[in-house]
């Protein structure tokens, strides 16, 4: 993926808006005008200090130029372009980069429309499935026909038979009356059924909105980190305190009035604490500020996710966790043990270590259930996780499902040459009751291969850029690897 093509037009547009010539800008940067020209044309990748100097010269923040948001936009446009219905238009990735760079508003509008279209399609399919298979409806139709048959038969008698005795007349009129009442109840039940079906159809998925909300904040909420510090102080939890449960339990009792159940684990206690007082306020502030959450379901879901975030920040305070992570080389199992949380909770916390100036290794996280459904996505700016459908079948997250109990590590190389370390493991969840099937999920952490040697997961792997790696793609529809034995679908666009 050519990100230079994104940054270049932005530099050019901004320079022109400021009325600056290429000569003047390049001179102030200490580079040649022709080099600047190549940069603006998207033909040179720049980063680090040069990007910062350009940003400063143009009066922009670095991430306004090298925006992670645009990269996500490009990934979303690629998914849109891969739709079979658009195949005839021959959309290409270069033009998408142009559109995202020059006209981000229009690009975002296209994405919004794409999502709404997908949601409508899914809703329509769900509704028609429901109509075909819903047991209530099947039974209701049968009842309808039976009740009407009874009414019709008795009504015909009352209407057509002249010599009915008064008793017979009353009898058949009573049948008509009784059956009509039952029919009325049935009609109301049907109306209510359709009323519910209508309101259950939403135009935007809350899960998607919450995913984006977190990605927009780079999975880091400074407001909640502060609130966590405040809560810890209020509960009297010392930094190295091992018995955090009793401190949290006592705090809950003091502020909530009710003692928590005795067996409540540390994380559960922290979740309850997170909702109280300063914590609850901090959560509300974040939700109110979130203009991208457009409906109640999304806001409720976001609040639950943020509560979990705050609880994690209470149980795994930022500075202590970051220090431990560096010391333990980002070993999520060791971190889980050290802080008394689950493997999954430790992995989630790793993803949130993004405080500017005090960052851990940038990780992406993906969680997949036994049917391959992605139940959690925290992508990286340069590692897109598909929103709809599955990712490349070679990814460690799916391989791990085949080896429950084992941690699967993989150096994966994408078609453009980018390499990532993928680490995945099956996590078992308790089944709701004995004869119910086992509930497993596969949890995957991913980081750029350049960071892999800072982690325990890179140990023993050959991380050199020339070493063999598993050739993967983002997902089959947009992947350019022809001749891949694992290909699920034909690619629709030319990269």
């Amino acid at each position: 993926m050519n990100y230079a093509a994104l940054v270049g037009p932005k530099i050019r547009d901004r320079r022109r808006a400021l009325g600056m010539t290429q000569v003047r800008l390049s001179a102030s940067l200490g580079i040649s005008a022709s080099y600047l020209n190549l940069i603006e044309a998207g033909r040179r990748n720049i980063g680090g200090s040069l990007l910062k100097r350009i940003a400063d010269a143009l009066g922009l923040a670095v991430d306004e130029l090298d925006g992670a948001t645009e990269r996500r936009l490009l990934a979303d446009l690629a998914e849109l372009a891969a739709e079979p219905v658009l195949a005839a238009h021959g959309l290409d990735a270069g033009a998408a980069a142009d559109l995202a760079g020059h006209h981000p508003g229009w690009a975002r509008a296209l994405i919004t429309l794409h999502r709404a279209w997908l949601d409508r399609g899914r809703a329509v399919n769900a509704l028609s499935d429901r109509l075909r298979h819903d047991p209530f409806l099947a039974d209701a139709v049968h009842q309808l026909l039976t009740r009407v048959a009874a009414i019709k038969s008795s009504a015909e008698i009352v209407e057509n038979v002249d010599d009915l005795s008064p008793a017979e007349q009353r009898r058949f009129a009573a049948i008509v009356g009784g059956e009509s009442r039952r029919l009325a109840d049935l009609a109301q039940a049907l109306a209510a059924f359709f009323e519910r079906s209508h309101t259950a159809v939403r135009s935007l998925t809350p899960v998607g909105e919450v995913d984006d909300f977190f990605a927009d904040h780079a999975h880091h909420f400074p407001g909640l980190e502060e609130a966590a510090v405040t809560l810890r102080e209020a509960a009297g939890v010392a930094l190295e305190h091992d018995n955090i449960e009793s401190a949290l339990a006592r705090y809950l009792e003091r502020t909530d009035g009710l003692p928590p159940p005795p067996a409540a684990a540390r994380f559960e206690l922290a979740c309850r604490v997170a909702e109280l007082a300063a914590g609850g306020e901090a959560l509300s502030v974040e939700i109110q500020r979130a203009t991208t959450l457009t409906n109640d379901a999304a806001r409720r879901r976001a609040r639950r996710a943020l509560t979990t975030y705050l609880a994690a920040a209470v149980v795994m305070p930022y500075d202590a966790f970051l220090a431990a992570a560096r010391g333990l080389r980002f070993d999520a199992d060791a971190l889980a043990r050290a802080f008394g949380v689950s493997f999954e909770q430790a992995c989630h916390r790793l993803v949130t270590l993004r405080r500017p100036g005090a960052e851990g290794v940038p990780f992406a996280l993906m969680r997949v259930d036994a049917s391959g459904y992605t139940s959690r996505r925290a992508p990286l700016p340069n590692l897109a996780l598909p929103r709809h459908g599955s990712a490349c079948p070679l990814w460690a997250v799916y391989q791990a499902l085949q080896s429950p109990g084992a941690t699967v590590r993989q150096v994966a190389e994408f078609p453009g040459g980018a390499r990532f370390l993928l680490v995945a493991r099956v996590i078992d969840e308790p089944a709701p009751a004995f004869p119910m099937p086992r509930r497993v999920a596969s949890l995957m952490l991913a980081c750029d291969a350049l960071y892999a040697d800072q982690t325990v997961y890179g140990d023993g792997l050959n991380l050199a850029s020339a070493a063999p790696a598993v050739p993967v793609g983002p997902n089959c529809r947009v992947c350019t690897r022809t001749g891949c034995a694992y290909r699920q679908e034909d690619p629709v666009i030319d990269a």
């Binding site: 049968h142 026909l145 039976t146 009407v148 048959a149 009874a150 009414i151 019709k152 038969s153 008795s154 015909e156 008698i157 038979v161 017979e168 009898r171 058949f172 049948i175 009784g178 059956e179």
Partner: protein
């Protein structure tokens, strides 16, 4: 000789109105409210025509029909199915098993009476043939 009709139907109100109109048309009417009772009646006091609903409790109408057509003593009994389940696949299944008439609910009383009368006439024509003329 009065033609005997057995109505196998679980809705009491439909049994009542149908019994009334069939009785008025000169038939002797009895009824069974579930599939097990229907089969008992067929063996104890064999009718001349059966009106059969498909959605019966205990043993359903499909099973009753199968039992009738599989039993040499009952095979010749004319059966008219009267049902709310009027979809093509139900009709095909019933015709595969073997049936002499098929009406869907809601029905008109005169249609039912006419259909029973036709089945009964078919019976009497057969009776005459069997008496060896």
């Amino acid at each position: 000789m009065t033609i005997k009709v057995l109505i196998a139907e679980d809705d009491a109100n439909i049994v009542e109105s149908l019994s009334f109109v069939l009785g008025r048309a000169g038939f002797e009417v009895s009824s069974a409210l579930d599939g097990d009772e229907a089969l008992h009646r067929l063996h104890d006091n064999r009718p001349d025509v059966m009106v059969l609903d498909l959605m019966l409790p205990k043993r359903n109408g499909f099973e009753v029909l199968k039992a009738v057509k599989a039993d040499p003593a009952l095979r010749s009994l004319p059966v008219m199915v009267l049902t709310a389940k009027g979809q093509p696949q139900d009709r095909r299944l019933v015709e595969q098993i073997g049936v002499e008439g098929f009406l869907t609910k809601p029905f008109s009383n005169t249609d039912v009476v006419e259909a029973v009368r036709r089945l009964a006439q078919g019976l009497t024509a057969r009776d005459a043939a069997e008496r060896g003329h």
